[in-house]
């Protein structure tokens, strides 16, 4: 075990290397590039014995991963934004074919206008593709989640996307504790996978699913991701026992007696916690809930945490134009629909296209949540920091 300074991107690359991946197929895109640069360096200098396939696009990158995964190989890819969008159709194939691919998605805004900076629009657009989605708040978590992702993927036979905020995490150096490689190998040992193609076993893959069978096959993916919850929890616990860090589905901060809360996802959770500390000193009963596992959505955990709270702000970092709200808010409102003790919910959008969300803006969001509770009903979505 050693404590080093690493960027979020390098933390992911080290995790993939320590998990001893067999194959990497990826196409570079800002801000994901340093992940694949580091991994190709590991392969080139012999530190990692793996196939590195240089592909001409993200569509091909994920296609290569699907093919390799079907042979039972442990595969890894990484992308961002337009790259993820370009993978769109293959994402659904990866989940439908039940390939345990692990992908790091370095969250970046989607064009147009062209923007390389951070928001969550890329991953939100792929929310329904049947991938498990983990979201991290630090470089350490990026490392840890990537390791957990391999184990989760191979246990439940679904692809896992680890989301880390572009630049805010991907290009920020901070302390990361790297465990001994032998411990990592114990945690993610090579796993022989059933129903994988090889010269000895001929299967037909990528077949037509006519109306008589498509529905049942799609439901298998629905069932698999629904039932992955207990496995994800179990693996997270095992990770905690082995490495001393456990993350759960949601991370709660100062929620025991909170009257007002903010729900966040990703790195900006940290700033929200700093603001909670400051407001607590002023006597405000505020807390933060950060969603770590977005798919499968942690319905029960969220209901348990948010029931009885007076007001909850939901901070979206992506928009759902023309929709009834924005994506995270929609999910939380749905989860709380059946509760008789549901809090008043207020939707916020903040930090699109890499716009900094300041301490003052977080304070303002908490203040607005308090206001809408006083007013007795939520306002339509508030776009924080938007110039008129």
């Amino acid at each position: 075990m050693k404590r080093v300074g690493l960027s979020g991107n390098y933390a992911v690359a080290y995790a993939a290397k320590m998990a001893d991946v067999d194959l990497i197929a990826a196409y570079p895109i800002t801000p994901q590039t340093p992940i694949v640069e580091k991994l190709s360096e590991f392969v080139a200098n012999g530190e990692l014995e793996a196939e590195y396939i240089n592909v001409e696009s993200e569509h091909s990158a994920l296609s290569a991963c699907v093919g390799a995964s079907l042979t039972g190989a442990r595969v890894f890819t990484a992308t961002s934004s337009q790259g993820l969008a370009y993978m769109h159709e293959v994402l659904f194939m990866a989940s439908g074919l039940r390939t345990p691919i692990v992908m790091a998605n370095v969250n970046r805004a989607l064009s147009t206008p062209l923007n390389i900076w951070n928001d969550h629009s890329d991953a939100m657009a792929e929310r329904d593709s049947g991938w498990i989605q983990l979201w991290v708040t630090s470089a350490q978590e990026a490392f840890d989640a990537t390791l957990e992702a391999f184990k989760i993927a191979e246990e439940v036979l679904l692809p896992v996307m680890v989301n880390l905020d572009g630049f805010i995490l991907s290009h920020t150096y901070e302390p990361v504790v790297l465990p001994d490689e032998s411990l990592v190998r114990e945690f993610v040992p090579p796993k022989p996978m059933l129903n994988r193609v090889s010269p000895k076993f001929a299967y037909s893959i990528g077949v037509v699913g006519p109306p008589e069978i498509y529905y049942e096959m799609k439901y298998q993916v629905v069932d698999a991701i629904e039932n992955s919850r207990h496995k994800i929890k179990e693996i997270d616990k095992e990770f905690g026992n082995k490495f001393g860090r456990e993350y759960k589905f949601v991370n709660e901060y100062m929620m025991e007696d909170a009257d007002y809360a903010l729900v966040t996802m990703g790195a900006l959770t940290g700033t929200a916690k700093v603001v909670v500390n400051a407001l607590r000193k002023e006597g405000e009963k505020v807390g933060v809930v950060s969603i770590r596992c977005f798919r499968p959505f942690p319905k029960e955990d969220l209901v348990a945490l948010l029931e009885g709270v007076k007001g909850v702000g939901v901070m979206d970092r992506a928009v759902m134009p023309g929709g009834p709200s924005n994506p995270l808010f929609a999910d939380i409102a749905t989860a709380l629909y059946g509760s008789s003790r549901r809090p008043l919910l207020q939707n916020f959008v903040a930090g699109l296209g890499g716009r900094d969300v300041s301490v003052e803006e977080f304070k303002a969001m908490f203040g607005l949540v308090k206001d809408v509770v006083r007013e007795g009903r939520p306002r339509s979505c508030i776009y924080v920091g938007l110039r008129e």
Partner: protein, 93 residues
């Protein structure tokens, strides 16, 4: 009509796990004409084998070709593909 399998009974990942399951699908009753091969004219070029959409053409030990009538639907593509007219479509029965 046979009972279709439920979602729990179907292999996951949209895979057909029994190799060669197409053997179950006999198409001989679809036929009106059947191909008859003239071994003397055959130049062993293999075009009939390549073009057959059902994979019903077999390679003989001597390099000529023949048809497995269980899987021949009588489409006549092999006859069209044969450059030396070694295949004739003959009415069944």
């Amino acid at each position: 009509m046979r009972k279709l399998k439920g979602w729990k009974e179907i292999p996951i990942g949209a895979m057909i796990v029994e190799p060669g399951s197409s053997v179950e699908f006999e198409v001989s009753s679809w036929r009106t004409f059947k191909p008859v091969f003239d071994k003397k004219k055959c130049t062993k070029c293999g075009m009939c084998w390549i073009f057959c959409p059902e994979g019903a053409i077999n390679l003989n030990k001597d390099g000529t070709y023949d048809v497995n009538l269980s899987f021949c639907k009588g489409c006549g593509i092999c006859q069209r593909a044969c450059a030396v007219k070694a295949i004739t479509m003959v009415k069944e029965g």
